[in-house]
């Protein structure tokens, strides 16, 4: 899952980025409000972690202007402002969650997953599609009750496809969800990962829509 982290403090930002990466998130880090707004307007992020006391543009202003422009990326506000009026203001301006520093990295990860899940209309963290079960927190995949070993990219790709089950995602969309900035994505990387997934799971699980992209069909559990 690709996350935008907006935090101006170098040490905290560095720690959050490393900690979220350990949990399998793909993290882009910006250090001011203007950059945060720019990235969230253009980029395809599953969610964002937004500090409020940001230089150039305050976090609340970023939040307000994004929501005014109907950009609905789930945003978790991470701030030192713990007064109840601040929380209310943050949530009312369009934050999906409000967390006061300091925060446990695993809790932060869980909250981000929960936000993303809710956006996709799911109630449980565990995703399933037929006999295929994916546990984002534990980063485990089971097929017919048996564990399947996937690489990081393969897992992320399957996660994105399962979150968007029934929707067709283009290669560019998948690339944006999977890679952070500055990463040279080889032109056939997604195809290679899809190929591996098909081999490790079931061949007909992921469908190719020629000229458009890929999709994972919804299935009821058997």
């Amino acid at each position: 899952m690709r996350i935008l982290l907006a935090e101006d403090d170098a040490m905290l930002g560095d720690g959050l980025r490393a900690g979220l990466r350990q949990q399998g998130f793909v993290v882009d880090w910006v250090q001011d409000g203007a950059a945060a707004e720019r990235e969230l307007s253009g980029g395809d992020y599953a969610a964002a972690v937004l500090d409020l006391g940001l230089p150039l543009k305050d976090g609340l202003d970023v939040l307000q202007s994004l929501r005014a422009r109907k950009i609905n990326t789930p945003i978790l506000v991470l701030t030192a402002r713990d007064a109840v009026p601040d929380r209310i203001k943050g949530l009312d301006l369009g934050a999906d969650d409000y967390v006061v520093k300091p925060v446990d990295l695993h809790e932060l990860g869980a909250r981000l997953r929960s936000l993303v899940r809710r956006v996709h209309g799911q109630l449980q963290d565990i995703l399933s599609c037929g006999d295929l079960v994916l546990d984002p927190a534990g980063r485990r995949v089971n097929l017919k009750g048996e564990s399947v070993l996937l690489s990081t990219r393969e897992f992320d790709l399957l996660h994105v496809l399962m979150l968007n089950a029934g929707r067709v995602l283009s290669r560019e969309q998948l690339e944006q969800q999977l890679y952070s900035w500055g990463y040279e994505v080889e032109s056939n990387a997604i195809e290679v990962h899809i190929h591996h997934l098909r081999r490790k799971l079931e061949a007909d699980l992921i469908q190719t829509v020629r000229g458009v992209g890929y999709t994972l069909l919804r299935r009821e559990a058997t």
């Binding site: 040490m11 350990q22 230089p55 520093k101 925060v103």
Partner: protein
């Protein structure tokens, strides 16, 4: 005690002097009436005596009677008046209450005498020269006093009734006059401590406008103070929580970096740096708290300190860090630059100024520190080639936790508060401007001439 109690109530302060004044004026008026009436009454009654005597004299001229005639008593007041008529030394006529001897020792004119009955009498003697007639007409003086008392009573009695009425009316009027004051106290009394909006002063009596305006000004000041405290709390929360959140995140990253030794090492180093930062922050907060709590303790007692020596010491401490960033620290100081201060606190002040200058200057630039001593003033100037500061930011400099965001620096915004506070303790003036020589910030600390 009683006096103090009386002063407590405006109502009493207005009423008591008012009633006292009315009483004094009334009594004075009564006294003047007494004196005036008494003179008039004496004149009038003396006139009557003289008139009566003259009539008796004139009558005696026509009467040819050698017997002593006793005039009948015709009125209840008749006993209060008496007369005698002598003809050639013989008593020829008298009133019943008059004796046989002449009432007055004088042959002519007024006399106040005490007669056989023990009463004081006012007697007028007149003489008819034509036929040797001697007439005395007397009147008891106490009857005069009775009339006087009656007049005085009618002047004073109303006062007795009027005073309580006046007090009541005055009390009511004063109470009415003070109503806006009571309303104001009610309005203020019912306010919640957070309600600092302005009191309405438009329809206030002119006497109360200054009070209300002063109160409004006070409310404004309190509100500004509260806002500043709220901002301080919010900023303090941010500044204290961020390093702790950073330390926590880095520690967790270190724990989670299973085989990645490089990542663990990096995270642990960042944890340590975070601890150093938190320590520095705590130290700054404590310095500031001590300065604010006890600005005049012996700890901050001003001695004559050589500022050059202090600055040289601080510059030597900071130079190695500056050299690693290829920054040049230049100190220009004359030989003797005594200032009033405290060695340790001046060190803190200079260190904060130099530290800021080094921190916000790009690598490879120069920082100039100058100490000049002229006309009794000692002036410390620190100039850098950093980004400087907008006028708006300059004005906010020294607010606790204020710092210009987006500089990529980890300052807490407390250094300036400390500098400002120390400068204030030792009466030094602090000025911030743009450096004309280096393009960055120029800070001047000016110690005035010693008195």
């Amino acid at each position: 005690m009683k006096q103090r109690h009386r002063l407590k109530s405006i109502q009493a302060r207005l009423l008591l002097p008012l009633l006292g004044l009315v009483t004094v004026i009334w009594l004075g008026a009564a006294m003047l009436t007494w004196i005036d009436v008494r003179e008039e009454l004496d004149d009038l009654l003396d006139g009557h005596l003289a008139q009566a005597a003259a009539m008796l004299v004139v009558q005696q001229v026509h009467t040819e009677d050698d017997d002593v005639a006793n005039a009948p008593s015709l009125h209840k007041y008749a006993t209060l008046v008496a007369f005698q008529v002598f003809h050639e030394g013989q008593l020829v006529m008298r009133s019943a209450n008059a004796g046989l001897l002449p009432m007055s020792p004088k042959a002519q004119g007024f006399a106040t005498v005490r007669l056989g009955d023990g009463e004081s009498w006012r007697v007028f003697a007149a003489r008819g020269m034509a036929r040797d007639v001697q007439v005395y007409v007397g009147e008891q003086t106490h009857s005069r006093n009775e009339i006087l008392w009656a007049i005085l009573n009618s002047a004073l009695l109303p006062l007795l009734f009027a005073l309580p009425l006046l007090a009541l009316g005055g009390w009511w009027a004063v109470r009415l006059g003070l109503a806006p004051l009571r309303q104001l106290s009610q309005v203020i009394g019912q306010r919640k401590p957070q309600a600092l909006k302005q009191l309405e002063s438009e329809h206030m009596p002119s006497e109360m406008k200054p009070i209300v305006e002063a109160l409004n000004a006070l409310f404004d000041r309190i509100e500004a103070m509260l806002a500043s405290e709220r901002r301080f709390t919010a900023d303090a929360a941010h500044e204290l929580r961020t390093p702790i959140a950073g330390i926590r995140a880095q520690a967790q990253v270190a724990m989670g970096a299973d085989e990645d030794t490089a990542q663990r090492l990096h995270a642990l180093q960042a944890t340590l740096a975070g601890c150093d930062r938190a320590t520095r922050l705590v130290e700054q907060l404590l310095t500031l708290a001590r300065l604010e709590a006890a600005p005049n303790t012996p700890h901050t007692e001003a001695l004559s300190i050589d500022l050059c020596q202090v600055t040289r010491r601080v510059a030597a401490d900071l130079a190695p860090a500056a050299l690693t960033r290829h920054q040049t620290l230049i100190l220009e100081a004359s030989n003797a630059c005594p200032v009033q201060g405290n060695d340790a606190l001046l060190g803190v002040l200079v260190r904060n100024l130099l530290d800021n200058a080094l921190r916000y200057s790009p690598d490879g630039t120069a920082i100039e520190v100058r100490i000049e001593h002229r006309q009794g003033h000692t002036v410390l100037t620190v100039e850098d080639a950093g980004p400087g500061m907008s006028e708006h930011d300059q004005a906010r400099l020294g607010e606790r936790f204020f710092r210009v965001l987006g500089q990529g620096q980890t300052g807490s915004g407390l250094g300036w508060s400390i500098v400002k506070r120390i400068a204030h303790v030792f009466d030094a003036r602090l000025e911030v401007s743009r450096s004309t020589r280096l393009g960055g910030l120029a800070v001047r600390v000016d110690w005035p001439a010693r008195p």
